[in-house]
């Protein structure tokens, strides 16, 4: 009898455990990642609308965290470096937020001339957040005359040294939308950046003033999402915007630390 009780208790516990594990799993997948449409068709967009806005930070702004430079001080330590996971500017403007359309299925094509790049300068990745179209090559620049090692995590891992003589290092194009994934340098452990491999061009990253703009959006109703390294995403409750042909919609966001 006792063993039955124990067994049922164990089953109950197991269910709870599996349940929470499952919830945590799906939850983290939703809050951490971008959401991509199942299919996207590129077409010519004429008289599209514009979505713009400002992303602001709410809450006590934590003190800037200086990074500890442990090697190659000459190149890396020339100026003081700060942790870039949360960069708050004047008027609480939040930099490095990705703002994007979650549910667009057809729209303009990528700007073929734009070549996504991340520079490694003074042992820091610039920009800190980069959008890379699926099928395009991301080029890693090395402006420091020292060795770096580009280590990109995620489903399409890259682990590739970039010697001091290698000023430009294009990387193999990624074929599936993913991200954001982190970029690290194994040689300078403090270096960090984020990449999103995206299937359509309606992605923007906020500037110092927290501003973003999405142009040439075909008229219609959309869900507008954001992602921020320290503040998370709104994938569960994205903003709804209605774009009119040739019109401009404004949508601001206020983010808190997650």
């Amino acid at each position: 009898m006792k063993s039955y009780l124990l067994a049922s208790l164990a089953v109950l516990l197991a269910c709870c455990f599996v349940g929470t594990a499952f919830a945590a799993d799906s939850g983290s997948a939703e809050t951490e990642m971008l959401v991509f449409p199942e299919a996207y068709k590129a077409m010519k967009v004429s008289n599209g609308g514009t979505i713009s806005g400002v992303v602001k930070f709410e809450g006590d702004v934590p003190e800037k965290k200086a990074l500890e430079i442990t090697k190659d001080e000459k190149v890396c330590g020339a100026d003081e470096k700060f942790d870039e996971s949360l960069v708050v500017g004047e008027g609480n403007a939040l930099k490095n937020t990705i703002v994007y359309l979650i549910d667009i299925s057809a729209g303009k094509d990528f700007d073929k001339k734009a070549k996504p790049e991340i520079d490694q300068k003074g042992c820091k990745f610039t920009p800190h957040v980069q959008i890379v179209p699926v099928g395009a090559r991301l080029t890693m620049l090395n402006s420091d005359k020292i060795m770096h090692n580009v280590h990109i995590f995620g489903n399409n891992p890259v682990n590739k040294p970039q010697p001091k003589t290698r000023r430009k290092m294009p990387l193999k194009a990624v074929k599936e939308a993913e991200g954001p994934v982190e970029v690290k340098c194994d040689i300078h452990g403090w270096m960090s950046a984020w990449i999103a491999y995206v299937p359509h061009p309606y992605f923007a990253v906020t500037n110092e003033k927290g501003e973003f703009t999405l142009e040439d959006v075909p008229a219609g109703e959309y869900k507008l999402g954001y992602w921020h390294e320290a503040c998370g995403t709104n994938s569960k409750a994205p903003a709804a915007v209605t774009v009119e042909a040739g019109g401009t919609v404004t949508q601001d966001f206020t983010l808190k630390l997650k």
Partner: protein, 258 residues
């Protein structure tokens, strides 16, 4: 073909027996035989030869004939010259090697399975006499296979969180820490281990570890921890169930079998 002299036959028997003991028995058939054992066998063979040749005068004369010939006859002069150099040289080398030999550390005549105390204890609590204590979960094997399985699985977990570093994934005493421990960790796949002991003996060895061994076990170099400090009583019994379940060996029992 010339008939071999008795002396030569004796010589062949001696050398042949040595080769047989040293390389055939001690190499091909089985593990190397200690030098002292070989010396003993050789002594016996020499005695047998001496007995044989001294039974009859004629045999003895036949035996010593080649020796005498070599010592005095002119036709044997080349042999004599070689021997008069070779014998002293061999003796020289042999005595030198004995005198100049480096001393080696004393061995340790350790009793691998010393007799246990009469009473089985966990921490300071007396469980019963070594002879009578049985694994409290063993009866599930017949009464409640499900519960038994749960105990075995728990034993598996305990084993792999604590024991496999030394005793190995396959319970064969070849864990990744094992090669550099002396004495080597017990090999539970050895048919001479589990079937020869009661579960209470295993409980004692696990609970008290190396430090709990009696003097005959010369505990100074056993790395077996005192597991009663870390594991609960039930965990020890469970791990014992796992040991027999995984290896398929049955612990020795008294009572039921008879």
């Amino acid at each position: 073909m010339k008939k071999l002299s008795l002396f030569t036959i004796c010589l062949i028997i001696l050398v042949g027996s040595w080769v047989f003991l040293r390389f055939v028995v001690g190499g091909i058939i089985s593990v190397p035989i200690p030098g002292s054992v070989i010396a003993m066998y050789m002594g016996l063979i020499i005695i047998a030869i001496l007995v044989h040749i001294s039974v009859e005068d004629s045999l003895f004369r036949e035996f010593r004939r080649p020796i005498l010939e070599t010592l005095v006859e002119d036709k044997r002069r080349p042999h004599r010259r070689v021997l008069v150099v070779l014998i002293p040289l061999l003796l020289l080398g042999y005595t030198y090697s004995i005198i100049a030999q480096r001393a080696n550390p004393p061995g340790s005549p350790r009793d691998a399975h010393p007799s246990p105390p009469l009473e089985l204890t966990y921490k300071n609590e007396v469980i019963g006499t070594m002879q009578d204590v049985v694994n409290p979960f063993r009866h599930y094997e017949k009464d409640d296979p499900e519960a038994f399985k749960a105990h075995v699985e728990n034993g598996r977990r305990v084993y792999h969180q604590n024991c496999f570093y030394c005793h190995g994934d396959d319970l064969d005493g070849q864990g990744h820490f094992a090669p550099y421990l002396q004495p080597l960790p017990a090999n539970f796949q050895d048919p001479g281990i589990i079937p020869n002991f009661q579960e209470s003996f295993f409980f004692w060895r696990i609970a008290k570890g190396g430090p709990g061994l009696p003097a005959a076990g010369t505990p100074w170099d056993s790395a077996m921890p005192i597991w009663e400090d870390t594991l609960t009583k039930d965990e020890i019994w469970d791990v014992i169930l796992f040991l027999s379940d995984y290896t398929g060996y049955q612990f020795r029992t008294f009572g039921e079998a008879h």
